[in-house]
């Protein structure tokens, strides 16, 4: 809490000690102001958390409802689901690629636009504009962009004589993954660029000046000054992009529909399929609980690692 500020006696009328410390008592009033948040969080967050645990331990179908506890059947059946391990593998692979590309590109972009020069405002805005679109809108946009019917890429490549026939951007597992990564990088690079830009601008110019006088070149300054001082911002980008990619849904639901041949089904898509295509809410809840636990462990590990490094 903030420290109490002393006021000059001349300005303030003499007050009793109780009045002076008004924000340190009145606990009932504070609780009253916090009550709406508390009720909301209890109803829409705590209660569903308990319910999802209960559902994951029950035979709970979409159409027939709760048929009683069957623990640990739902969890055992996860292992038998032929889509589960491929989905885990694909989600991890996708996360690795997206995070690496996003980190590198958004850092490059932040470095490109950090200094004031002619036209930099325009360039910065161009990088950031895709971020204003929703992920579902961006996915729908690229779904048309990649389509052989109205997509412009094939027309351009063919006009330049680089290809003879349309490229199937979503046709093979690798192309579908590549095309989705392009969409996600386009949509999010500007967002992470801003976070890194804020970090870059908090590094005082004197540090660079001192390094230059010590004879450091640009690359040395980047490796020994910029990167270490940028670590908190890089850590934030890392946590946000890892979490976001592990929970990927919209882009694959809209762009690839999990195809071709279920090669791009992510774990969150699996939850959706179990619940609303196979109508097994119990199984969906069990997978959800596993995702929650995995994410909790990962987040704790990431926080630990970042804190330790500090």
């Amino acid at each position: 809490m903030t420290k109490q500020t002393e006021r000059p006696e001349a300005l303030a009328p003499p007050r009793s000690p109780v009045r002076k410390r008004w924000w340190q008592r009145r606990s009932a009033k504070g609780a009253l102001y916090a009550l709406p948040v508390a009720v909301f969080v209890a109803v829409f967050f705590i209660a569903p958390l308990f319910l999802v645990g209960r559902m994951s331990a029950a035979d709970w179908q979409l159409l027939t409802g709760d048929q009683g506890i069957n623990f640990p059947e739902n969890y055992q059946s996860i292992n038998d689901n032929p889509l589960f391990w491929p989905a885990v593998g694909f989600t991890l692979k996708y996360t690795g690629i997206v995070v690496a590309v996003l980190l590198a590109l958004s850092l490059l972009m932040a470095l490109l636009v950090q200094e004031k020069r002619r036209g930099v405002g325009f360039i910065r805005t161009a990088y950031f504009l895709p971020t204003t679109l929703g992920l579902a809108s961006a996915s729908l946009l690229f779904w048309g962009f990649y389509s052989p019917q109205i997509g412009p890429i094939d027309q351009i490549l063919q006009a330049l004589g680089l290809t003879d026939e349309p490229i199937s951007w979503l046709g093979s597992p690798n192309m579908a993954l590549f095309s989705t990564v392009v969409l996600i990088v386009w949509r999010f690079a500007g967002f992470f660029m801003i976070i890194l830009l804020v970090g870059l601008q908090s590094i005082p110019g004197e540090v660079y000046e001192a390094a230059r006088q010590d004879g450091a070149n640009r690359w040395q300054a980047f490796v020994h000054i910029t990167l270490p001082l940028l670590r908190p911002s890089l850590g934030l980008v890392l946590i946000l992009s890892v979490t976001g990619s592990l929970l990927a849904f919209d882009q694959f639901f809209i762009l690839t529909k999990g195809g071709p041949d279920n090669s791009t089904v992510t774990v969150v898509q699996l939850v959706y399929r179990e619940a609303f295509q196979r109508f097994d809410l119990g199984a969906a809840a069990a997978v959800s609980v596993l995702i929650l636990l995995a994410l909790l462990i990962l987040n704790i590990a990431q926080f630990r690692a970042l804190r330790k490094a500090d």
């Binding site: 161009a126 204003t132 729908l140 019917q149 386009w186």
Partner: protein
């Protein structure tokens, strides 16, 4: 020296400018594709708004979907602002039982995947009669705004000197009057940032309406446009889809231009926190 500088400058603009063009191309293309003539769309000859006409006539009609999206976003902004203003005030200025726990639990919402909560919320909203309801959807969307919103409003209130409230209280104002008549102006920038981010999140959300809304009449725009693709007798209307993307993107672009400063404030607070 002069020469290497010119070389450096040129390569900078080739690299940075080239990237900028790559980022702009899809945005420009969608606007173009929504009005350009294409086979198998409503816009066959010359440029025009045939694809937008398709959207107007599609199922419940574009006005209905626009209204659904506006209502959901408006309610989400309203709920988020009220909850985070009262909560932020409580966290910044008062001591009460369970304060630290409540704050931690609110921030912990961020740690729980959306999909994990949507399955039980689907059941709960059904029991409450709020499934297929835009009010229920807005409440779920509000939940995911709370961590950022409460954090943002807490630091906004903490930044205001206590003397301002003190003198008003000496004059006999109650704390609620102080909050609504005085403090609200001090935290206005925070409120705008919170409102902006919750509007954009609600306007663009896809998975929550996908799960909670099954009635085509109640679908917000992203859900309606995504379903539009699979309809119209099995043939896919690419033109109308891009017109839909433009309709969804325009309010976001306008808000970005109008409120650029408040965007960056949101990122700043995130960066400081990290």
């Amino acid at each position: 020296m002069q020469r290497t500088n010119a070389l450096g400058r040129t390569s900078y603009y080739v690299l940075a400018g080239g990237l900028a063009i790559l980022f702009l191309v899809p945005l420009i293309w969608t606007g173009y594709a929504s009005v350009a003539p294409q086979g198998a769309t409503a816009q066959q000859d010359g440029f025009g708004f045939g694809n937008y006409q398709t959207l107007m006539d599609y199922n419940a009609g574009l006005p209905r979907y626009l209204w659904n999206s506006t209502l959901v976003s408006g309610l989400t902004v309203l709920f988020t602002l009220v909850l985070s203003m009262l909560g932020g005030y409580a966290f910044a200025r008062f001591k009460f039982w369970g304060k630290d726990t409540l704050f931690l639990v609110t921030i912990a919402i961020l740690m729980v995947p959306y999909s994990t909560l949507l399955i039980p919320l689907y059941i709960m909203l059904g029991d409450l009669g709020l499934r297929n309801s835009l009010l229920g959807l807005a409440m779920v969307l509000t939940l995911y705004q709370l961590p950022f919103a409460v954090f943002m409003m807490r630091i906004s209130f903490e930044a205001i000197p206590k003397e301002i409230e003190e003198s008003a209280m000496v004059d006999g104002c109650g704390s609620f009057r102080v909050l609504t008549r005085i403090m609200v102006f001090g935290v206005a920038p925070g409120l705008i940032t919170v409102g902006l981010f919750s509007f954009l999140a609600a306007w663009n959300d896809f998975i929550a309406p996908l799960i909670l809304i099954s009635d085509a009449e109640s679908a917000p725009l992203p859900l309606a446009i995504a379903t539009l693709r699979q309809q119209s007798m099995g043939s896919i209307d690419f033109g109308a889809t891009q017109a839909g993307v433009v309709v969804m993107a325009l309010p976001c672009l306008i808000l970005f231009v109008a409120l650029q400063r408040h965007y960056v404030r949101g990122f700043m607070s995130g960066a400081i926190k990290g």
